[in-house]
């Protein structure tokens, strides 16, 4: 039978000696956190800038609705949404406050709460204010709600379609809400800096966030709509951002975000581990995966058709290999593992 290390009384001694031997590791760890903090801050700032643009574009459109201002609003929505996709993997820190991550993107939405809530709000007799949006729950407060108002076919064919007064008020209020949240997130992340650098647990948290981001991308954003899970049927409705046909553009943005904001810190740790070659393998695999774009920027609906499905499968296979490299190899090498119980939350 295997025996375990036990710390009784000797804990202090053991820790002291560990610290002496591990000085270099601690420095590297801190440097990695430094890279991560700066990179994620850049990502959050880009989100804040793009969200502010979207807020202005929504306002402009509703003040003088025409084809050009509508197109501007849609393009601004997409830029802000893709900026969010780049930092979407960060699932700890200030993005946890007030469920900001869920406010930005309520998904998955199997009960179509977005549509139900939108239909209810645009009928409101008292108009739609920012306060109302702030009180209406996470399904109302983010990119999917704005996407619904801008892109949903049924909505656009109804008498409540933009630029109807209530619908415009809702769009502007949601865009403002996203912009305000983006500012908050960016400044709170900045304030976290010293704690982030000083607290070892943030290294694990960041690596786990990168792993989870990749796994969600593989399993829920690709395998699920591809019919490889659940009932086995292909369905665009299982993807996110299907109303605007942006599911795969969002996948590309998330992969780009992971490469830009997550990989440098991870690589630094791997370069200083027993398996420095892993860092290069992961970089190459990111390149491999991203080579599928821009060709794959088509709507999920199109890629699920028989004649293009093989291409989508190709992307899925490359993403799966990336997941194996990061979660099975890099994380294990760095001693980071998400457990059955540790990720349960009960």
């Amino acid at each position: 039978m295997r025996k375990f290390t036990k710390l009784i009384g000797a804990a202090t001694l053991a820790l002291a000696s560990a610290a002496v031997g591990a000085n270099t590791d601690l420095d590297i760890d801190r440097q990695a956190r430094n890279l991560w903090h700066d990179a994620i801050l850049a990502g959050y700032q880009s989100l804040a800038t793009n969200a502010a643009d979207f807020s202005r574009a929504a306002q402009n459109y509703c003040e003088s609705p025409d084809q050009a201002s509508r197109r501007n609003a849609e393009q601004a929505w997409r830029r802000a949404f893709l900026a969010w996709q780049k930092v979407r993997f960060v699932d700890f820190g200030p993005v946890e406050n007030n469920n900001l991550a869920w406010q930005f993107q309520f998904w998955p939405d199997p009960k179509n709460l977005i549509a139900k809530k939108a239909r209810y709000l645009v009928k409101s007799e008292d108009g739609v204010t920012q306060e109302l949006v702030a009180q209406s729950g996470v399904a109302v407060q983010g990119f999917p709600m704005a996407e619904y108002l801008l892109y949903d076919k049924q909505m656009n064919a109804s008498d409540k379609a933009l630029p109807a007064t209530n619908t415009c008020e809702l769009l502007v209020a949601v865009a403002d809400h996203i912009a305000a949240n983006s500012d908050t997130l960016s400044s709170e992340w900045q304030s976290l800096r010293e704690h982030f650098l000083d607290t070892d647990q943030y290294s694990d948290a960041t690596i786990k966030a990168g792993m989870a981001g990749l796994e969600i991308l593989e399993e829920r954003r690709l395998a699920q709509p591809m019919g490889m899970r659940g009932n086995g049927k292909r369905s665009k409705y299982d993807a996110d951002a299907w109303r605007s046909g942006s599911s795969l553009m969002a996948v590309e943005a998330s992969l780009n975000g992971l490469r830009t904001y997550f990989l440098p810190g991870l690589s630094l740790l791997l370069d200083n581990s027993d398996k420095p070659a892993l860092s290069q393998s992961i970089k190459r695999q990111f390149d491999e995966v991203l080579e599928h774009f821009p060709e794959m920027r088509a709507p999920m609906e199109v890629m699920l058709q028989d004649d293009s499905f093989a291409q989508l499968q190709g992307l899925y296979v490359d993403v799966s290999q990336l997941v194996v490299l990061v979660t099975d190899q890099a994380a294990v090498e760095l001693g980071v593992a998400r457990g059955f119980n540790s990720s349960d939350g009960d």
Partner: protein
């Protein structure tokens, strides 16, 4: 549910103390029912299997499998029915049913659905006579925590509902007085339509709640020192000393106390040295007070750490690193058994080095009962 019950003020309850050893032999899940029932020592837990399916599995004291019974979805925890013939397991939150198993064979005897508009949260406890099953549950539209009472002698029909005046009840156990339910009220609002999103982290009101099991009246409500110390897990020793374990919802760089002892009408919080606190990752999945001694064990899968401390003083006795360890149960003789999400069962005590009892091809879920 009209039996007589003693008028238990909180003070009387807390004074109950050592005079309860007779009652202790009657109580349900938490106090080694195995030791007093004349049945062999057996422990049960929810598991995930390598093929992605789920089951409930019983093991003996050496960690050897006794039976494994398949279930439809992931379960969390449960309890033994006094008398030794049945064990009940609840689905993981949001749980839509609980299952009743023959404790000897593992044969499933019943599956009981949650009432309309309610879901279970993974825990239950029997009355000492084995008749009433008390389950923590949530009325999810209203976000109200309740205790749902089922009649085990009447096909587990719902017989009563007690209001908790609070959100997010989780584990409950029963005091050795046989009358008082000890309930961890986590304080976190969730809704099944919103995955497991925590909807109220700024306004949480966690508490340790004491409730008379016959009337549902709340006889004590004790708040942790910080409103984000989600009070999820509870245990009580033979003398009636009550422990609570928290999951802290604040930032990672803070390491507040995660364990507390109810004493003089207050939650006396127990903080270990900084390294041990960090090792616990702001998350305790199980706490167990040993019925034979003053020791209390707790496990953190997030930190991959289990600790044993002296209940009366809070002094750390032992700490060990076991990845994804979560379940803790007292073993006859004074030690504890730990289970992990990696299939390990470990014997862990105050004196000897932790010893791996078994490594089985399952992922042990949060609790051993």
């Amino acid at each position: 549910m009209s039996d007589q019950y003693p008028d238990l003020s909180r003070r009387a309850l807390l004074k109950a103390g050592a005079a309860t050893s007779v009652a202790a032999t009657l109580t349900g899940c938490s106090l080694l029912p195995n030791m007093n029932s004349g049945h062999p020592e057996q422990y049960t837990a929810a598991v995930a299997l390598p093929d992605g399916t789920f089951a409930v599995e019983a093991i003996n004291r050496s960690g050897q499998p006794v039976w494994q019974s398949p279930v439809e979805t992931r379960c969390h925890s449960g309890c033994n029915r006094p008398g030794g013939k049945q064990v009940v397991f609840f689905e993981r939150r949001p749980g839509w049913s609980f299952c009743v198993f023959d404790r000897t064979s593992g044969r499933r005897q019943a599956r009981v659905q949650a009432a309309q508009g309610e879901h279970f949260v993974g825990h239950g406890i029997f009355s000492p006579d084995g008749r009433w099953l008390y389950a923590t549950a949530s009325r999810y539209e209203q976000g109200e925590g309740i205790i749902a009472v089922y009649d085990a002698e009447n096909e587990f029909k719902r017989s009563n509902t007690y209001e908790l005046a609070g959100i997010g009840p989780h584990e409950l156990t029963i005091h050795p007085d046989g009358e008082t339910l000890i309930i961890g009220l986590g304080g976190i609002l969730t809704h099944p339509d919103y995955d497991r999103i925590k909807l109220n982290l700024d306004t949480m009101q966690p508490a340790l709640v004491l409730m008379n099991r016959r009337t549902g009246s709340i006889v004590g409500r004790f708040k942790p020192s910080h409103h984000q110390q989600s009070t999820r897990h509870v245990s009580v020793n033979r003398d009636g000393r009550i422990y609570a374990a928290y999951q802290y919802q604040g930032p990672l760089y803070e390491n507040p106390p995660l364990l507390a002892r109810l004493q003089d009408g207050k939650l006396r919080e127990i903080r270990f040295d900084d390294a041990t606190q960090k090792g616990l990752g702001n998350y305790i999945s199980s706490v167990a007070a040993h019925p034979e001694n003053d020791l209390v064990a707790a496990a953190s899968p997030v930190g991959g750490t289990a600790v044993i401390f002296e209940g009366s003083t809070g002094k750390l006795i032992s700490s060990t690193a076991i990845p994804d360890c979560a379940g803790v149960h007292a073993l006859k003789g004074g030690d504890f058994m730990l289970s992990s999400g990696r299939g390990q069962l470990v014997r862990f005590g105050a004196k000897d080095t932790p010893e791996e009892l078994a490594q089985l091809p399952v992922q042990w879920d949060h609790h051993l009962v």
